[in-house]
Symmetry: C2
Subunit: 600 residues, 2 copies
């Protein structure tokens, strides 16, 4: 029905007759001639309808936006001065010879180029929203990313093997989506949170290199960057070391960025979890922000300012400064109102306040420092603050003092907030670049104060560093794992680990986590069983495809890179799912509603 | 940890030192030397452990089947007379220099090369079952097929776009798997039976060419070739005609077979639904079987044999013969017992019996025909039977007379059964070849006697042939659709249609199906709505990946091409899913069990 795409017509076809199909993006009448911008997924082309073909012209006069039409015409140069360099077809136009309306359109509820649509409008009329070049570009990039991943993995001998969607509920981690069984009364399947155990089983089964781009499910309350169903690039390999795996998948991501965006991510820095926490208060630091923590815990133990001394002396307490260069400069620095705003902001993360020192003039000593707290900090400590932060005139020093987690979260978030602010960008605190890194050497366990037991930082199948397995029972907090996360611009793109391949080591982890043998057998029996039959050394990782593409497109929301996403209330506004179902269906599944009025 | 795969070591590496990882397939002690067949996913290699390296030799002595080991050694020629031409590494062996046990194995519950394992054993110990080269070959072929499909579609501009797994229940067709919503009390998601509506929406949204290799779900009682979750190669395109679409996807399947099996499927015959039913009693005829129906309805109206005359005179009745060349030959033909067996067999399909005539000697006239029924068939009809079937001495003629559907099903199944039997194969009634074809021109509707209304033969979004839309209300039985099925060796590999792209035509189909405007709006409102906005002409199809790979591998069951399949009772024997869940989980989902003892 056509010879090429609208968006691909160029000077190369000059003088030729083409047939095109597409949608009327805009119709203009100008000097007795009708101009139609015809659109398809590849772009636009200008079609000119002259009145000297009256029948065709009459049809053209009736065209409205979003009519689906077919045209046949001659490719010719646009008149001088009317070319458009921003589109591929900008130097040419089509002189229309034949015009057929394939399907008319009623008037759309909004203009496709309206950039101020509410998300509710966009998701309710998703089909029209998906016609917008912005969405088409996003979804086409998403496809290219997935395909580049497949090509890369295929060349490395990875095999896509499908794992079940109808699996078993393992009540830990996030909440499962359940699927009642009709055949087995009172039994339920669960949709997978990840194919973790199956991919390990495939390694034990000798498939050597596995991947899958697959849906995973978590029934959690949704944050901006979460969806009930999301897509994971899931990978596992046998007989590679931690370093081999990192090198291979760094190469994969570098290749994908190069082949889709033309961006060279270069070599990724490798940073330990400990260093990331120390310098940035985060295990996914945004390295585009040129601000770092200064450690002060060791110097604040004996100051009069109780907030600092209490945190410095408490077990697990931390005191840090965040030096903001130029933050105290008259006129260009942070205003009183901004500082108050940041004080409120850090409270979200559990901080009780936000102490600061404005470094007005170092030469004046204490006189040159403007701060509500400085009088309660003795000379030696104050000198350490200034020396360690390298403070200069005009700098602003923020302080965090609390439990380590609160300090890291609050001052870590403040660091990002300031870096991304207008002030930060103007002051050179933010570099506009791609900033990837690996974060490695995660602890195996963290102590859960509430439950009074250790929990796994990655998951309980993560291998310890060689030699660390003996500490698992005696000193779990000392165990470092072979886990790794890939971070880009402060987002976790993916993560994984070398797995435990020996049943005895796996048992030690369960012991450290106080998972009883019975519980382990009931939940993971099939994995423990499999490890007994010559399981190979193996490891892998999983990337969040939605997130990667969101980062690559610069989209504001993950929902802009998913064709049919759910709202933050986990609803599909287009099809109105979820919805009530027939009583007969429930009966067949051996369930009933608790609240019989609910489905009314 | 290795330099190549075990199965890929060949003479090309002669004289080189290689490092390999794999599993001990077998260990033999022979003449003071230990031979280890080392296995990985690519195949086997023979490793020779000489006692002149005592430490290595001692480790080798402890090796048992399924130990996972790493070896380093020299590639050398096997001694003359010990080569094995059936494997890639059959001309060489590895002289072991270093040997490391990466992980020992307990004794497996069965030998991997045992070919008589029950399916229960295999699925319970699926990880070991998956180690068998048979399963590895199947799953690797499955991957290659999927990847070849992706490459083909990528080159044609198709884009993989993910559609939701959590969708809306549409209670028609098969039974849905439901997923209770936690956020919306009394509401449920449904897992998709196919992405049909979403792919049409993507065409309306202008994505032009879509595909997805995706899981679909049907909660049906399972037959041998069905699974609760199965994988569909789902495709949709805009602006192509029925013939364009068939040509493109014939090309795709031909390319896949060529690039994976090296098989050339050639040009596919195109057969109308009507012809397939007339000649083979099936809409997916196995053309490898050289047997055809002979139509006799028109000649049996006045015979004394009531079974024939009643069927011939009834509305929707049919009488046919199936001529089996050589079936009555003394010694080599069908035995009395076999004929009795077939008589029982056709009853499965609703036939009440199986009339037959043995054509012993045509020259003797009626004397030469041996049959319980021939005396009740008058000369003229008998002559027609012999002429139309082209019966020869030694042939056996089977008859079917009943409602058309019963005749088609029963005699169609008999045709396959005889064709595939030992007798059929010996008698040249079965050609061992790939026999693809397209079946086209399906009726739009069939009359459901029970419900006393028309139902859609494909689905209600299938377009009628041009001009047929006007019959949809006046004479639905005359409407032919733009539907098509691709059949291979009697299996439906895939099927699809050109879709309705105009809202007014879609409305006529709903009218013909007696779907009220309200019901249509409630179930498919979002599609009807979308069709109003300049929906493009579009169509597509879906292939069953599991089935295609089953056909290609010659596997006995679809379960042999799926890594972790469910049993026919819809259970995963490896992980024991489905399983009871916590009461807390049910409470969060606002449901309770009907039978509270069920989950005990």
């Amino acid at each position: 029905m056509r010879t090429t795409y609208c968006g691909l017509v160029s000077e190369a076809l000059m003088g030729q007759t083409v047939t095109l199909c597409g949608w009327v993006n805009r119709r203009r009448d100008h000097g007795g001639v009708i101009f139609v911008d015809l659109r398809d997924r590849e772009g636009y082309v200008q079609v000119v309808c002259d009145p000297d073909r009256p029948e065709m012209f009459a049809t053209a006069e009736d065209l409205r936006n979003e009519f689906c039409i077919q045209i046949k015409g001659l490719v010719r140069a646009r008149p001088a001065g009317t070319t458009n360099d921003t589109i591929q077809s900008g130097k040419i136009e089509i002189l229309c010879q034949e015009l057929t309306v394939l399907n008319p359109s009623v008037t759309p509820p909004f203009q496709l180029d309206d950039e101020n649509l509410s998300e509710t409008t966009r998701l309710t009329h998703r089909v029209l929203d998906l016609r917008r070049p912005y969405m088409q570009k996003n979804l086409m990039l998403r496809y290219r990313v997935a395909m580049e991943v497949r090509k890369f993995l295929d060349a490395k001998g990875f095999i896509d093997i499908e794992t079940p969607m109808l699996g078993k509920s393992t009540p830990e981690g996030a909440r499962d989506y359940l699927v009642p069984s009709r055949v087995h009364d009172g039994h339920f399947f669960a949709l997978p949170q990840s194919p973790q155990l199956f991919k390990q089983l495939l390694m034990v089964a000798g498939y050597d290199r596995y991947y899958q781009i697959t849906k995973c499910f978590r029934d959690e309350d949704l944050r901006a960057d979460r969806q009930p169903e999301f897509t994971q690039i899931d990978i596992e390999t046998s007989f590679l070391t931690e370093e081999d795996i990192r090198a291979m998948f760094q190469d994969m991501i570098v290749t994908v960025f190069k082949n889709t965006l033309g961006v060279d991510l270069g070599e990724f820095p490798v940073m330990t979890y400990q260093e990331a926490a120390r310098r940035f208060g985060s295990d996914k630091p945004d390295l585009r922000v040129n601000l770092e923590f200064t450690e002060l815990t060791d110097v604040m133990g004996d100051v009069d300012f109780k907030v600092f001394s209490a945190a410095a002396n408490a077990k697990g307490g931390r005191v840090v400064a965040l030096r903001v260069p130029g933050g105290a400069k008259e006129g260009t620095g942070l205003s009183r109102g901004e500082i108050d705003g940041y004080t409120e902001f850090v409270k979200i993360y559990g901080a009780k306040g936000l102490a600061y020192i404005k470094v007005n003039e170092l030469a004046k000593g204490r006189e040159g420092l403007q701060s509500p707290i400085v009088k309660n900090i003795h000379d030696k400590a104050l000198q350490e603050v200034l020396t360690r932060t390298g403070a200069q005139d005009g700098d602003l020093l923020f302080f965090g003092a609390d439990k380590e987690k609160v300090v890291n979260d609050a001052i870590g978030a403040l660091r990002i907030k300031i870096g991304h602010s207008e002030f930060g960008k103007k002051s050179g605190l933010f570099e506009s670049r791609w900033a990837p890194l690996w974060v490695v050497d995660f602890p195996m366990f963290e102590f859960d104060e509430e439950a009074q037991r250790y929990t796994a930082v990655h998951h309980p199948f993560t291998a310890p560093k060689d030699g660390h397995e003996d500490w698992m029972v005696t000193a779990p907090e000392k165990c470092i794992s072979k886990g790794y996360d890939m971070v880009l611009n402060g987002w976790e793109m993916g993560g994984g680990s070398v797995r435990i391949h020996r049943a005895d080591v796996q048992q030690k982890v369960f012991d450290a986590l106080k998972i009883s043998a019975e519980e382990a057998q009931q939940k993971f029996g099939f994995l423990l069983d499999a490890l007994q039959y010559g399981a190979p050394p193996h490891g892998g990782l999983a990337f969040g495809l939605d997130r990667i593409v969101t980062l690559m497109t610069g989209a504001e929301s993950i929902r802009d890179v998913i064709a049919f996403p759910k709202t933050q209330r986990a609803q599909d506004l287009l099809t109105q799912a979820p919805a009530p179902v027939d009583e007969k269906q429930l009966r067949e599944l051996h369930i009933r509603l608790r609240n019989s009025a609910a489905a009314a």
